[in-house]
Subunit: 375 residues, 2 copies
């Protein structure tokens, strides 16, 4: 399989479906595991790393996941391919920029990926659209069991699964939920969300962004402690309390915009439509923020029946000036496609060769104009 | 005369006509004078200020200027009226915010205004569209002579005309030219312009802006020294060297945009059109910057025959979606009207009552959308 087989479209977990899909983009569970009988990676020679890579690859590739599985040799992949894998959350930035023999096993529909020789020997993640942490956990347990039948994990009766970094000790589980919180931002309440998350010892990061800056009002929230807390407790807390609460706050903020700040709301949506439909140069960062506003508008229309002048124009009218008979409006599928396809590595991979930043900005603007014009 | 007689339209010096009108908005000459036999204002009692005000008003009102002349009692005018006079460059901010008896004599077409009891007893200014400093000087000399026949100015054979601030000593003349330099900004060359101006001991300020920040790429450039330099020399230097040179640099930057940075140019113009035509909330500052880009586009079309896709759309196509048969495009007159009419005090004076900032932003956006839609 080539990356261009998947780079032209969105993946399953970014499809905009699943429970609470108007606020929750996706759910992710990640396990960190190390093989017994091998040193942690920081102390491994290149040949030891190769041995670990081979052993795990041989175990992972035959897994029955109900999907095609393929392997990418990360250390041999071109920079652009590695950036693409990072943009798609198939590998971490750390894995992309690491050293030595390493690779990733990926299910073609992208609900499953296993990084070999990242920080730990093995990091498996399961991703699903919307709030589906229990379903992620269930699938993860099957996969984890299947692997454990064939390898010995490093495990201590006292500490649980042993990991390179002590913060992952214990269950070795990290639970993350990707959220879209544009209304909390627009109503100046996003700081409250950050503070509440900090108080609960949760980590908040931006999605698609470099580092911790949120891009396009997308945030990734995850647990920090893994020692002394059961896997089931972490998942249940996220799925039944933390995430539904945040989603309620975001929806309350959307209601506030509709009831009290209609001008602010319509201004943001109208500007986003106007800029996306007319810009000739657009950065990835700006595109994410503008698409974020359209995504919120469409979701407010679909989930809350909102029909302000700007939302109505966005959701029901053709965006093409030269084809006034056409009806339709912009679909959430188009917005999701644009989110992914205009990320820098996606853009270049689909174009067929590397482009300098200015030419990326030109191409990005062109793709967006054309996709929005055709709904 | 009421202010609303003039607040609904642009004034003569902002008509976009005159020599070098694609770069030079207007020319202004200002004289500072004080009456012999009176103290400087900082040492005057309220009754002395009243005496000066009455004496000068009686001399100024009968002046024959070929236009209606009216008087506004600045100390008694409402705050909104004073802000309007500042926005229109009929009085200074210092005069608006001052204390004690003071007023302004204005020619209805606004080419002439005389502030009484600003920093000096009398400050006269003559304003004309485009680069017309000699014409300003000629008119100023007639007016100055006519006044001097009726009053005694404080004059020293050694220092020339005496002024409250030593920087105005000598000729008491200040020469200012208002420039529109969007392409120097867009091509990152505006700093060079600032540095060159500083080296020539010229002051650069923003136009329509609070303080020194340029708003909408408009800059006001003026001489700083008035002692030991002849009036004729200052004017000739501005009119024959400094301003034509700056205009050449700006035009070279426009040529550069057209030849090498077409995407940047079309991006700026397309974005400005899209935002002005679609925003529901817009600040005065943002409106100035966006209108500035349209002004440049129209001038590039009219003076340089430029016809990029965005400029063509701006200058020749109707901006109304629902009336595709109409041809026309946006005229420079419309842009100039919008520059003036969307300034905060203009907006409120024409609306008939004060508005809070959010409602100003809503009204401003509405006026702009409507004016642009009708060309």
């Amino acid at each position: 399989m080539k990356l261009t087989d998947i780079s032209g479209d969105i993946n399953e977990w970014f499809s905009g479906s699943g429970p609470l899909a108007d606020v929750v983009i996706s759910s992710r569970i990640r396990l960190a595991r190390n093989l017994a009988g091998h040193k942690f990676l920081s102390r491994c020679s290149a040949s030891e790393r190769s041995a670990i890579l081979k052993e795990l690859r041989d175990v992972l590739m035959p897994l029955e996941l109900g999907d095609k599985i393929f392997y990418i040799s990360v250390d041999k992949a071109p920079v652009l391919d590695r950036s693409f894998l990072v943009e798609r959350y198939l590998i971490s930035r750390h894995h992309a920029e690491g050293r030595g023999p390493r690779g990733v096993v990926i299910a073609q529909r992208e609900f499953f990926t296993a990084m070999i020789n990242e920080e730990d020997h093995l990091r498996i993640q399961v991703l699903k659209a919307g709030l589906q942490l229990s379903q992620c956990a269930e699938q993860m347990n099957h996969i984890d069991d299947a692997i454990e039948q064939k390898v010995d994990y490093a495990f201590s009766p006292r500490y649980g699964y042993l990991t390179a970094c002590p913060t992952n000790l214990g269950t070795g589980i990290r639970v993350s939920v990707m959220l879209h919180l544009p209304a909390l931002k627009m109503t100046d309440q996003i700081e409250k969300f950050f503070n509440a998350a900090r108080d609960m010892n949760l980590a908040v990061r931006g999605l698609f962004g470099e580092g911790t800056e949120a891009a396009g009002d997308f945030y990734q929230i995850s647990n920090q402690a893994t020692l002394g807390v059961s896997e089931a407790d972490i998942i249940s807390q996220f799925e039944n309390a933390i995430i539904p609460d945040i989603a309620e706050y975001e929806k309350a903020a959307r209601t506030l915009l509709l009831s009290k700040q209609l001008d602010v709301l319509d201004d943001k949506i109208s500007r986003a439509m106007a800029l996306l439909g007319n810009a000739h140069l657009i950065s990835s960062q700006e595109a994410l923020f503008l698409l974020s506003h359209l995504r919120m508008g469409i979701n407010m229309h679909e989930y809350m029946g909102a029909s302000t002048p700007a939302i109505k124009r966005l959701c029901t009218q053709s965006q093409q000036d030269d084809d006034t008979d056409k009806t339709g409006g912009v679909s959430i599928a188009t917005i999701n496609r644009l989110f992914m396809l205009t990320l820098p590595a996606h853009l270049q991979l689909n174009y067929g060769k590397p482009l300098d930043p200015t030419h990326r900005d030109i191409l990005r603007a062109k793709i967006i104009r054309s996709e929005l014009a055709s709904g």
